[in-house]
Structures are given as structure tokens and as C-alpha cells.
């Protein structure tokens, strides 16, 4: 593991989350370096979404600490929020606004200058292939289109960290490919990415970082080796 603490951007220590009396995450530790890509694997209910919600500051930890870019959660959440983009299960878009209006609204919330925001929206809408639909209402969009727009929303404010929760679910082949391309661009731009999935087929090329969650605990943290990992994954499932 190439985790030099100096260039660590995400530091998670002893992180636990309990819902009432149900433990969702237990004693999770890991560190991610700036610009690193990590695949978060795990079955449904293993705690992937909970972990991403905790990292994005939407949910508060029951115990343990999260540091992002040197800021501590939840005390310094406001500073962390500006550095994080989240693509959640649901698109987090307004149905009765157009694609462009949605981006303009979120741009305002992130305090982006109006002219600057228009420029960025134009570029992003081109990138995600929605330029021609920029002025149609989001309610008319397909699942794939919403997903692409929601990625544009998540990187509009140029966050250092991009968190994606099962972004491939419900996408057809072409949509999945264009998502792959978007992710590649985001990596080139130096963003740190955590992508959660329960499908092994979505795995990155060999050698990438992979984290496996099982029943709220980290079961594996290391380089991705397809055959070996598939075995680990199945073992964790059982």
C-alpha cells in the first residue's frame, strides 16, 4: 500500500456507525492518497452507502474520526463540504428545472460566480453528452441521462474528492461506457475517487486499490488482483 501519510487526503480511523442498536459500520480504518482511486466492494447492506454518507458529512459517526484534506468531521464539516462531490443512489436533481437550471442552482449554493458557472456548465454538459438537452426539463430524462447530469452536478464545484455510490446500477451499456470515460477524465484531473459497487464486473484494471466491506467491517484492503479478489469477495459474502 502506497499510503504515504504526507499526501493522504482521506484518513479514516476507528470509524463506527450505529443506527439505534444496529451496528452498520464497525472500526473502519483506511487512508487514501491524493489522486488515488479506490473501489469499494461489498454486498447489499454491507455498509457501503453508510460509509460514503459518513465521508460526505451527511451522517455523523457514532465513534472514530474522519479527516479529509486535513479537516476533521463533523466539527469542520463546512470546510469539507466544498471539497466533496457525491453521486448518490438517487439523482439529487430537481425534476421541474432544466439541466442548465439545475447546474446554475447548485453553482449558486457552492458560491460559484455566475458567469464562471455558466462556462463550467456548458463544458460539463458537453462532456456528459447532454448539451442538446440542456434546456429540457429533467423530468423528461431517462435514468442514464439523470445519472450523467448528476455526475456533472457532483463535479461542478471541482471537488478534490469524488464519492460515487453504485453509479452503474440501472445504466445500459452505452451509458456505462460514457460514465467510464467521465471517471477517467476526473482521474486525469487529479481527483481522489471512491466508487462503490456490488458488481465485480465493474472492477478496475489489475493493480488498483480495492476495499471490501463485509458486515460493516473492512475485510480486505489492497491491490486488485482479479482471481484472488473474487475469491476473497466470495469468502466475505459467505
Amino acid at each position: 500500500m502506497a499510503n504515504n501519510r504526507k499526501d493522504a487526503i482521506i484518513e479514516v480511523e476507528g470509524l463506527s456507525k450505529v443506527f439505534g442498536i444496529l451496528p452498520a459500520l464497525q472500526e473502519v480504518d483506511f487512508t487514501l492518497a491524493r489522486g488515488e482511486f479506490a473501489l469499494l466492494l461489498g454486498a447489499n447492506g454491507s455498509g457501503k452507502s453508510t460509509l460514503l454518507r459518513l465521508l460526505s458529512g451527511l451522517s455523523k459517526p457514532s465513534a472514530g474520526s474522519v479527516r479529509i484534506g486535513g479537516w476533521e468531521l463533523p466539527g469542520e464539516a463546512m470546510a469539507i463540504r466544498a471539497q466533496i462531490g457525491l453521486v448518490a443512489h438517487r439523482p439529487l436533481l430537481y425534476d421541474n428545472l432544466t439541466a442548465r437550471e439545475n447546474l446554475a442552482f447548485f453553482g449558486r449554493l457552492y458560491g460559484i460566480d455566475r458567469a464562471e458557472c455558466e462556462g463550467r456548465s456548458r463544458d460539463l454538459l458537453r462532456q456528459v453528452g447532454l448539451w442538446r438537452r440542456a434546456d429540457t426539463l429533467v423530468r423528461t430524462f431517462s435514468r442514464g441521462m439523470k445519472q450523467r447530469l448528476s455526475i456533472a452536478r457532483a463535479i461542478l464545484h471541482r471537488p478534490d474528492v469524488l464519492l460515487l455510490d453504485e453509479p452503474f446500477s440501472g445504466l445500459d451499456q452505452t451509458a456505462a461506457e460514457s460514465l467510464d470515460q467521465l471517471l477517467a477524465t476526473a482521474r486525469q484531473e487529479g481527483r481522489t475517487i471512491i466508487l462503490s459497487t456490488h458488481q465485480l464486473e465493474r472492477a478496475p484494471p489489475t493493480g488498483e486499490r480495492a476495499l471490501i466491506l463485509s458486515r460493516g467491517r473492512i475485510a480486505y484492503d489492497g491491490a486488485f488482483e482479479t482471481s484472488e479478489l473474487a475469491e476473497m469477495y466470495r469468502a466475505a459474502e459467505a
Partner: protein, 243 residues
């Protein structure tokens, strides 16, 4: 720890034991004072004796709802489940007291006002107070996530207390009530007032003190322990299921 030992009841603290005995004896004592020792009212007759429970029960509810308010504020400040349980206990005990208050008032009103119920400002606000805390319980039952439930109910408990204050002070705000005030000057429209003679005061003060302090705290403590038991039962159930 095995499942069985985890669910075993913890022994009742000594102080709670004392408080419980005090409540039972105190209640019996104040009943004797109100029903026997105090003289019969010349105009209203025996029904006036209800007053020795009617007014103290409102103040008991006041204490309990006040502790709900306090519990809510503390639960928000410290994110502590304990304070949330105190708040819940306050609502249930307070609601029971408030219903006793309405019921005794209603029975008293039948011969004195010649009706079980009238839409007088104070009666209305007392009824609304009960409904508010009934709404608290309904809202609470609808929230599954414990952290969210604690936050929501603390916030609601803070707003609900406004109805308690209104019931208490409405006579000053809306003077046309017919509800009498025994301590201090009655509103000019009040019907069924009686004088606070030394006999009345002698029976009232012990009862008031009992309902205001010992009784709500004792009952709430028992309710708090019951809630803890329910929680440990759930924990044991969960453990049994996951093993």
C-alpha cells in the same frame, strides 16, 4: 455475557424504593386530608373535594412536561439517549396527569356549571395541550431511526411546551374565561369559585407538593426503567437473530 443475564432486571435503586413508598403513602394521606379532614364546602358540597386532585394534577403535568422540555434541550445538546428517554417518560406521565385534570374538572363542572364540557378558553387550551402530547406519541411511533427520532422529538417537545404555558397563562390573556382562580383574584366572569379558607389550604398544599414533585418524578423513573428494559429486550432479540 449470556443472553439471559443481559436481560435480567437490575435491582431497583434505594432512592426509587423510598420515593415509591413516599408516593403511595403520600397519596393515601392527601386523600384522607381532602376527603375527611377538610370541611365540606357550604355552596358546592362534596364535589368541591375534587379540587384537591384537580389542580395538583395539572401542576404534576406541568412538572412532567417541563422535564420533557429539559430532556429535549439536553438530548440535543449532548446527543444522549438517556435524556430522550426522560423526555418520553415525561410525555406519558404528563399526559396521564393532564387527563386526570380534565376528567376531574369535567365531573366537577356537571353540577356546578350544569355541563360536562364547555368551549371556554382555558378548557380548550387544556384539551389542545393533551392533543399536542398525544401527537408527540404518534409522531414518535412513526420514526424508526433512533438518532432521527431523538432529534425530532426533542424539537417537538420544545414547541409542545408552548401549549402548557398558554394553558397556564391564558386567564391573563383571554379574561373572559369562566374558569375560577382559587389562588389570587378570579376573573370577573368566573363561576363556581370558592374561598381559600385555612381548611382548604391545609388540604391543598400537601397534595400540591406531592403531585408537583414526588409523584411525577417517581412515575417517570419507573417509566424510564421500563424503556431501558424494552431496549435491552430488543438488543437481546437482535443478538439471538444474528447468532
Amino acid at each position: 455475557m449470556t443472553l439471559a443475564t443481559e436481560f435480567e432486571a437490575r435491582p431497583m435503586p434505594r432512592l426509587l424504593r423510598i420515593l415509591t413508598i413516599l408516593t403511595v403513602l403520600g397519596f393515601a394521606g392527601t386523600l384522607v386530608l381532602g376527603l375527611v379532614a377538610a370541611g365540606t364546602d357550604i355552596q358546592q358540597g362534596a364535589v368541591q373535594r375534587l379540587f384537591y386532585i384537580h389542580m395538583p394534577s395539572f401542576f404534576g403535568a406541568f412538572t412532567a412536561f417541563g422535564l420533557t422540555l429539559l430532556g429535549g434541550i439536553m438530548a440535543l445538546a449532548h446527543k444522549n439517549e438517556k435524556w430522550d428517554k426522560i423526555a418520553l417518560a415525561g410525555v406519558e406521565v404528563g399526559l396521564a396527569f393532564a387527563l386526570i385534570n380534565l376528567l376531574t374538572g369535567s365531573i366537577w363542572a356537571r353540577p356546578i356549571w350544569n355541563t360536562w364540557w364547555t368551549w371556554d378558553p382555558r378548557l380548550t387550551s387544556a384539551a389542545v395541550m393533551c392533543l399536542t402530547y398525544a401527537a408527540y406519541l404518534m409522531l414518535r411511533a412513526g420514526i424508526e431511526d433512533a438518532d432521527r427520532r431523538r432529534n425530532f422529538m426533542s424539537v417537538y417537545g420544545i414547541f409542545a411546551f408552548v401549549t402548557v404555558l398558554i394553558t397556564l397563562f391564558i386567564i391573563r390573556i383571554v379574561p373572559e374565561t369562566i374558569h375560577p382562580v382559587i389562588v389570587g383574584a378570579s376573573p370577573q366572569n368566573a363561576q363556581g369559585s370558592f374561598e381559600a379558607t385555612s381548611g382548604v389550604v391545609m388540604a391543598l398544599v400537601p397534595s400540591l407538593l406531592l403531585w408537583l414533585t414526588v409523584m411525577p418524578i417517581t412515575l417517570m423513573w419507573h417509566r424510564y426503567r421500563l424503556e431501558e428494559r424494552l431496549e435491552s429486550l430488543n438488543r437481546v432479540k437482535l443478538k439471538a437473530l444474528s447468532d
